[in-house]
């Protein structure tokens, strides 16, 4: 193998580091309508009357669209395979406004200034309704967020809109109550996580126009190119055949762009006016009108026997969908189905959840996809159990977690899938060595009033959605023997175009430069569900392996035919086809060139892949913090992480995924928190107030890998993108406990919370 497991540069790296025009706004220069939204100043209101007459007179204004101008068919903006598990609960513009910032009107004009002016001149009479802000009282509240009768759930997920329920489900394995009753040690605690904004550096943006055939063409910063086609068709009520979606380079996603956030507005304007249109969300709009991580309250009941064997776990998640249910049912599902299986010695599991509507911003997908919240709760509870047992928490975990020894067994809490690969035990052992755990656990008091402490957590995720996700690729042999790999997977900066080319190069025994990768354009690319659910390397990678296998067979046959020998007596080594009987050869170049002439065979192959399993990658994370006991301030000293991601296709890119995910997790643990005032307005809607980590905030991150071999993945690979965000929060919470004795069970773990707790026991001197 020449390229798999090699840290090659990303194919697009030079264009990116030299600032070439490759993003949506760069390639859509030229005259077009500027599209902006008038947004609701209330969290809950009905539009009584809307008057656009004088606003339309502003010079340069092309159109102003209100709820009277949009199709009356509800849809979801969640990027999921059809039929989506997210309810069809929104209109493009609705008379009923369900959250602060909900769009009231779409304004399009030829300059930003005229659009801004027109927005200020639209007159709206609102009937202001009492908002439902607190998700803990949402179920059965008298305030109903979705009273409409055309609310529609395509799949049975327990939705009941009249009770503010977006989804509600229960899972039980074994008899939890009786197993729990028999436990000697019990932890019963509740944990809170907040909504977080993904903040990819490129905000939401879309450019639309009608092509020569009168079809709607959409250039957009998206992770879900094909799903956007369906979402737009649903929203605009036009046939999918009339829509083409193109994904150029995109400036980060992290799940934010797994929903269709910006596409609908310019698309509607282009359909109404026939003119090109563009919307660019400001950072503020990306905060207030995005699709953040779901806020949650997770109650855990965890029981262990006298030796510390975890026997029974109950996890209950209360989930704040906000105003709309994008990714609500599915993220809530992952909050239990990912954390629970790690503790494989348990004989009973119970998991139930309620996803509720409120008048806060509709949530969505964010790296980790609900598992992150679940791991904060369960790993924190396991650390509390270790304290109760007076046992080193790493020792407690080694007794209880999935390990290489369990390979071959079934995981009842993980859809009863068989465990095919796992080195979580080795990950934890190695992370302890890297962090010098035995030396540093639990803490060391420093002379200056500060204390250094360590904390640990383990985590898993999945690789693609089993039995649902589909990825396909097409592979072509061109003149002179270079290949074109057409993909529908959406590289969002993570490097999947390169990674898939590495897989193809080794499968075809050729140089990396001999593979041209092209994606994504729904008119040209083969179908792929898109880049989410930790699936691209694992799932699309396997489709590449299959397509290469098929293409090799065709090259071999054609080479043999041209040499007039049988394919059984010939071999293809990537450069030439060799006739084994007489050692005659024909080069790939010649086969390729012959294939484009006359009656010869044009050589191409396509393949698709869907996986019946979603093999988990694993991670152990250990953090060392320095905490100032006089102020509560936390500094991250070092984060040691070891990941089992199966075979690494590109070790550098895998490492950067891990480092980036850990850093995002640190932000979530320490300060990222979408705050609403009592009226439901997001208060911290800028980088001035909503801080993400800078390079001075995150200490040193050390990442290593313990690679297992996943038999269902390409070259043994599993996923990496999401698992890496799951340990930061519980590990940091644990380190704070070891430093101070405080269990902070609500994120983010701010200095204020710590010092206020510490001061409770102190007299003011």
């Amino acid at each position: 193998m020449n390229f798999v497991n090699k840290s090659v540069r990303k194919k697009d790296s030079m264009a990116l580091v030299k600032g070439k025009p490759v993003y949506t706004d760069d390639i859509s220069q030229g005259p077009c309508l500027i599209v902006k939204l008038l947004k609701s100043p209330y969290a809950h209101a009905l539009i009584q009357d809307i008057n656009t007459e004088s606003a339309l007179k502003v010079p340069g204004i092309e159109c102003i669209l209100t709820y009277k101008d949009v199709p009356q068919a509800r849809f979801t903006t969640a990027g999921q395979t059809f039929p989506e598990l997210s309810p069809y609960d929104r209109l493009i513009l609705d008379r009923r406004l369900r959250c602060f910032g909900d769009p009231v009107a779409i304004v399009a004009g030829w300059s930003e200034k005229s659009v801004d002016k027109a927005i200020g001149m639209i007159k709206v009479n609102y009937e202001v309704l009492e908002p439902l802000i607190d998700f803990k009282i949402a179920k059965e509240s008298k305030i109903i967020v979705h009273p409409e009768d055309d609310f529609k759930s395509l799949v049975e997920v327990g939705a009941d809109s009249k009770r503010n329920l977006c989804a509600s489900q229960t899972f039980e394995f074994g008899d939890f109550e009786s197993e729990f009753d028999a436990c000697v040690y019990k932890i019963e605690q509740t944990y809170q996580t907040k909504a977080n904004s993904q903040t990819p550096m490129e905000t939401f943006r879309t450019y639309t126009y009608l092509d020569a055939f009168g079809r709607l063409t959409v250039i957009s910063s998206t992770q879900i190119t094909f799903h956007v086609r369906r979402i737009l068709a649903n929203a605009l009520q036009i046939p999918k055949s009339q829509i083409r979606v193109i994904k150029p380079r995109i400036g980060g996603g992290f799940g934010a762009k797994q929903s269709s956030v910006s596409e609908i507005y310019p698309a509607l304007v282009t359909m109404k006016t026939g003119k090109p249109a563009k919307i660019i969300f400001s950072r503020k709009e990306s905060f207030t009108n995005g699709r953040p991580r779901h806020q949650s309250e997770i109650a855990i009941r965890l029981g262990a026997d006298a030796d510390g064997l975890i026997k029974a776990i109950h996890l209950h998640s209360l989930w704040n969908a906000g105003a709309y249910g994008d990714h609500g049912p599915t993220t809530a599902g992952l909050s239990g189905h990912k954390p629970l299986p790690i503790y494989c010695k348990a004989t009973a599991y119970k998991f139930d959840y309620d996803v509720v509507y409120t008048n806060t911003m509709g949530a969505g997908a964010y790296r980790g996809y609900g598992a992150t919240q679940g791991f904060f709760a369960l790993e924190s509870a396991v650390n509390e159990l270790a304290s109760a047992l007076n046992m080193d928490p790493t020792v407690l975990r080694m007794k209880n977690i999935l390990s290489e020894n369990e390979v071959g067994s079934l995981m009842p809490a993980y859809y009863n899938e068989q465990l095919n690969s796992c080195k979580l035990d080795s990950c934890l052992v190695r992370a302890k060595e890297m962090a010098k755990w035995d030396e540093k656990y639990p803490k060391k008091e420093l002379d200056n009033g500060k204390v250094r402490a360590v904390g640990c957590a383990v985590a898993m995720q999945g690789s693609s959605i089993s039995g649902v996700d589909l990825a396909s690729v097409e592979l072509r042999l061109n003149d002179d023997g270079f290949y074109t790999l057409m993909i529908g997977a959406s590289d969002m900066g993570t490097g999947c175009d390169t990674i898939l080319a590495q897989i193809a190069a080794d499968s075809l025994d050729c140089e990396l430069d001999n593979i041209v990768v092209q994606g994504v354009d729904t008119d040209l690319s083969p179908y792929d569900k898109g880049s989410y659910a930790s699936s691209t390397t694992y799932l699309t990678g396997m489709a590449v392996v299959k397509a290469c296998e098929s293409l090799r067979g065709k090259i071999l046959s054609e080479g043999a035919r041209l040499m007039d020998c049988s394919a059984e007596n010939a071999e293809f080594d990537g450069i030439r086809v060799l006739s084994l009987k007489d050692n005659r050869t024909i080069s790939l170049t010649e086969i390729a060139n012959q294939s484009l002439v006359g009656t010869n065979n044009y050589i191409s192959a396509s393949a698709y892949h869907s996986s019946p399993v979603s093999p988990p990658p694993y991670m152990a994370g250990i953090v060392e913090i320095e905490l100032d006991k006089n102020t509560g301030k936390i500094e991250i000293v070092e984060f040691s992480a070891v990941v089992d991601s199966g075979t690494l296709i590109n070790p550098n890119l895998a490492r950067v995924q891990a480092e980036g995910g850990i850093a995002q997790g640190i932000g979530m643990a320490l300060y990222e928190d979408i705050n609403y005032d009592s009226r439901g307005r997001m208060m911290n809607d800028s980088f001035l107030q909503y801080k993400i980590p800078t390079r001075v905030d995150i200490g040193k991150i050390n990442v290593e890998f313990e690679s297992s071999y996943e038999p269902t993945g390409p070259f043994g690979a599993k996923s990496i993108g999401e698992v890496v965000i799951n340990t930061s929060c519980p590990a940091i919470a644990h380190a704070v406990y070891n430093a101070t004795g405080l269990n902070i069970r609500e994120l983010p773990i701010t200095g204020e919370k710590i010092i206020m707790e510490l001061m409770k026991g102190r007299s003011i001197e």
Binding site: S7, R9, K10, D12, S13, M14, A15, L16, V17, K18, G19, K20, P21, V22, Y23, D25, D26, Q29, Q198, T199, P200, M201, E202, T203, R249, I250, G251, G252, F254, S282, R283, K284, M492, G493, T494, G495, N650, N652, L653, R655, V656, E659, G660, G661, I662, A663, Q664, S686, F687, L688, I692, P693, T694, R695, V696, I698, K700, I701
Partner: protein, 148 residues
């Protein structure tokens, strides 16, 4: 109003509205490397050099550039390729959206700081946000680029 300035060594003279921001003027002139990542001078994506000093073009009126030399990454292609190569060798460009502002800042830092420590590097670049990498790969690339 009319402004006259040099962008990457080439002279430009344009009639602009007085409230035009430098970022919008530069993008309008085709220097599309410059990106806007926030509305509050926090992210560093729009960094350009004004008379060799890094400035945030989102927080600077185009009128203030009157009479000055502005350098964007389009004018630093050779140096960008050199440092960018180290960055790419670490996989540290990722989505690349923060790269132009970040690379320009690193080039300015190299010219400004003599034998900086890791802490000085972090401090100098604190205003360049990146959401993809967790900054570690960027630091590895910087160390190789600066030979520290």
């Amino acid at each position: 109003m009319i402004i006259r300035l040099w962008i990457n060594g080439r002279e430009f003279s344009d009639e602009i509205s007085p409230d035009t921001l430098l970022i919008d003027y530069l993008r309008y002139k085709g220097f599309t490397s410059i990106k806007r990542g926030c509305d509050t001078s926090n992210c560093g994506l729009c960094t350009v050099l004004m008379e060799s000093k890094p400035v945030l073009s989102c927080s600077c009126l185009a009128a203030r550039a009157n009479g000055f030399h502005i350098t964007t990454i389009e004018g630093l292609q050779e140096e960008a390729e050199k440092f960018g190569g180290y960055l790419a060798d670490e996989g540290g460009e990722q989505c690349g959206y923060c790269s132009p502002g970040f690379v320009v800042s690193v080039i300015a830092m190299k010219r400004e700081l003599v034998d900086p420590t890791e802490e000085q590097v972090k401090k100098y670049l604190e205003g360049n946000l990146c959401r993809c990498t967790g900054y570690q790969a960027q630091m590895r690339a910087i160390k190789r680029y600066l030979g520290i």
